[in-house]
């Protein structure tokens, strides 16, 4: 079988330009890899028109780096005429009638959507085990999870089924699975990428981002995804920039902060040791790394629970069995239809979060919980801003442990949140954050470094990530 998909994307592009290969060759290779690795359960739906779409591109001259490259899309990003389930029974047969803005952009660049990836139901979870379609597996050890909620996208890229994927990150859902599976995942600054067509979970936190094998491919794909969009008024207008522009530069003079909390005893020893090696490598190469105190980091999970569950309860009110999705049978009243549809259509994790979210927003509770969480959220953001007055980047481990075994968090509603304890603060402040692999532990499982940047300064994150990628 051909191995074109293992090549760097620039090399693939060169072969396409020279007409030595065609987009159909790439699609066929991806489809056969997906079939051979079906046990990874990375995909929920395969695009059955993708070969036809690839054939049509065969006659066209490549006009950009991503022309003809297969890509996978997380199944909470709507794709016209291609099933979008959010890994839920309630949307099991939902066929969107429009494309998300990011999907329009990848189609404009002639990428080929190979299929929709598995995930936690409605992106709620940290292992993708809440998927109605069963959990995707970690290609490094199939007894382990690939993380969540973008676990299918991470599994597909890490397993070499596909070079590129889209994920979404509300509380670490791109970076944590990227860490567990040893690949590169970026959550861009909130507002960088349009959320139009992303099935909303927690609207003030959600952001779409790229999941790739290398830092260069990640930055290049982000170039395609960004931009202001009138259909998402939280998207921000910014001058066009090339996120790859600092890749390859040395890191001399870069000022990096390492918050004490990120290397406290909540982090596994082997991971802490590796992070220290990264720090000393940065030191040796002229960067300044200081350990700093940061307040409020330990409250972030708590804030996330309140804000995300409250916003989810409101966003998921739309799934009522009326306009789309599953509807329970044998119902005699509208109230009964709502209750039974949602009771039978949602899984346990989603039900728990909607119920607690509804409680948080009911009556006086909104003040006690939601309003107070928003106040402390503002304080976390100010704390990040204080650090960024003196430093260019903040680093730490992406996760406190390597990918856990399947079933480890089952029926423990608390654990699902604690897996994301180090990545959640970034969503609170709307900052960009990236996972880059920095080697493996003694069991051969990937360890990830989390690099946090100033708002809209993804380019500096990529600069450090690419420097480290060469070594670790």
């Amino acid at each position: 079988m051909s191995k074109y998909l293992d090549l760097d994307i620039r090399k693939i592009h060169e072969l396409l330009v020279k007409k030595e290969i065609t987009p159909l060759d790439l699609v066929d290779e991806a489809l056969s890899r997906i079939e051979e690795n079906k046990d990874l359960n990375a995909f929920i739906t395969i695009n059955d028109k993708v070969r036809e779409e690839a054939s049509e591109l065969g006659e066209v001259d490549p006009d950009n780096l991503f022309f003809g490259i297969p890509i996978a899309v997380k199944d909470n990003i709507v794709t016209k005429d291609l099933k979008t389930t959010c890994a839920s029974h309630i949307l099991e047969n939902f066929i969107p009638i429009y494309d998300a803005t990011v999907v329009e952009k990848i189609r404009e660049n002639k990428m080929l959507i190979i299929g929709k990836t598995n995930m936690d139901e409605f992106a709620m979870g940290s292992t993708s085990e809440t998927s109605y379609f069963g959990a995707p597996l970690n290609p490094h050890d199939k007894k382990r999870v690939s993380g969540g909620s973008s676990g299918g996208s991470a599994s597909a890229v890490s397993g070499g089924l596909i070079p590129l994927a889209l994920g979404s990150d509300t509380g670490g859902s791109i970076r944590q699975p990227a860490s567990y599976t040893g690949i590169v995942g970026m959550k861009p600054t909130y507002g960088r990428v349009s959320r139009y067509g992303l099935v909303a979970f927690a609207s003030s936190l959600d952001q779409i981002g790229p999941i790739t094998r290398t830092v260069y491919e990640n930055a290049s794909l982000l170039n395609v995804l960004v931009g202001e969009d009138d259909r998402d008024l939280t998207s921000v207008k910014k001058d066009k920039e090339d996120f790859t522009r600092l890749i390859g530069e040395d890191i001399k003079g870069l000022r990096i902060a390492l918050p004490k909390y990120f290397v406290s005893d909540i982090v596994d020893e082997e991971i802490s040791k590796r992070i220290k090696e990264v720090i000393s490598f940065c030191d040796k190469n002229g960067a300044v790394v200081d350990i700093v105190d940061m307040q409020y980091l330990d409250t972030a999970v708590n804030l996330y629970q309140i804000i995300a569950m409250a916003e989810a309860s409101s966003n998921l009110a739309r799934f009522d069995g009326v306009r789309y999705g599953f509807r329970a049978s044998d119902v005699n009243s509208v109230d009964e239809m709502y209750g039974k549809t949602r009771g039978e259509g949602f899984g346990d994790e989603v039900k728990r979060r909607i119920m607690v979210g509804s409680y948080i927003l009911s009556g006086e509770n909104a003040k006690t919980y939601y309003d107070k969480a928003l106040m402390v959220r503002d304080d976390i953001t100010k704390e990040f801003n204080r650090i960024f007055k003196e430093y260019d980047l903040i680093i730490g481990p992406t996760t406190t442990r390597v990918a856990p075994l399947l079933g480890n968090s089952k029926d423990d509603p608390h654990k699902a949140f604690m897996d994301d304890v180090l990545v959640i603060p970034v969503n609170m402040a709307g900052l960009p954050g990236l996972n880059v692999p920095v080697g493996k532990n003694s069991e051969g499982m990937p360890i990830g470094l989390h690099i946090i940047g100033k708002a809209f300064d993804e380019a500096t994150i990529y600069k450090l990530a690419s420097f480290l990628e060469e070594v670790f």
Partner: protein, 97 residues
């Protein structure tokens, strides 16, 4: 193990418009209590400012021009409806409820 009462679970399930089976009610009595205890921890945060952050976006007042855009056709709008009659979506009888 700490748990909510059946009535408390049924109350939040009603707020969320989610019907639960008897078995689920028992399971959620424990699981929801864990989450309720988690969210209660916010009460112990003492040192904070009273400014609220609704969104990370600094300019959150941007609005688009109010112009007539593309409309969905009735066919597209109802294409995923679980029960329909022509271009109408069917729901259970609401009158006299």
């Amino acid at each position: 193990m700490d748990r909510l009462s059946r009535e408390e679970v049924l109350h939040v399930a009603y707020l969320a418009r989610i019907s639960l089976t008897g078995e689920e009610i028992e399971k959620f009595r424990v699981q929801l209590k864990v989450l309720m205890d988690d969210i209660d921890k916010i009460k112990s945060v003492k040192d904070y400012d009273d400014e609220m952050m609704y969104t990370p976006i600094e300019d959150n007042t941007r609005l688009r021009e109010d112009v007539v855009g593309k409309m969905l056709s009735a066919k597209d709008a109802t294409i995923n409806a679980p029960k329909k009659n022509g271009s109408f979506i069917e729901v259970p009888v609401m009158i006299n409820e």
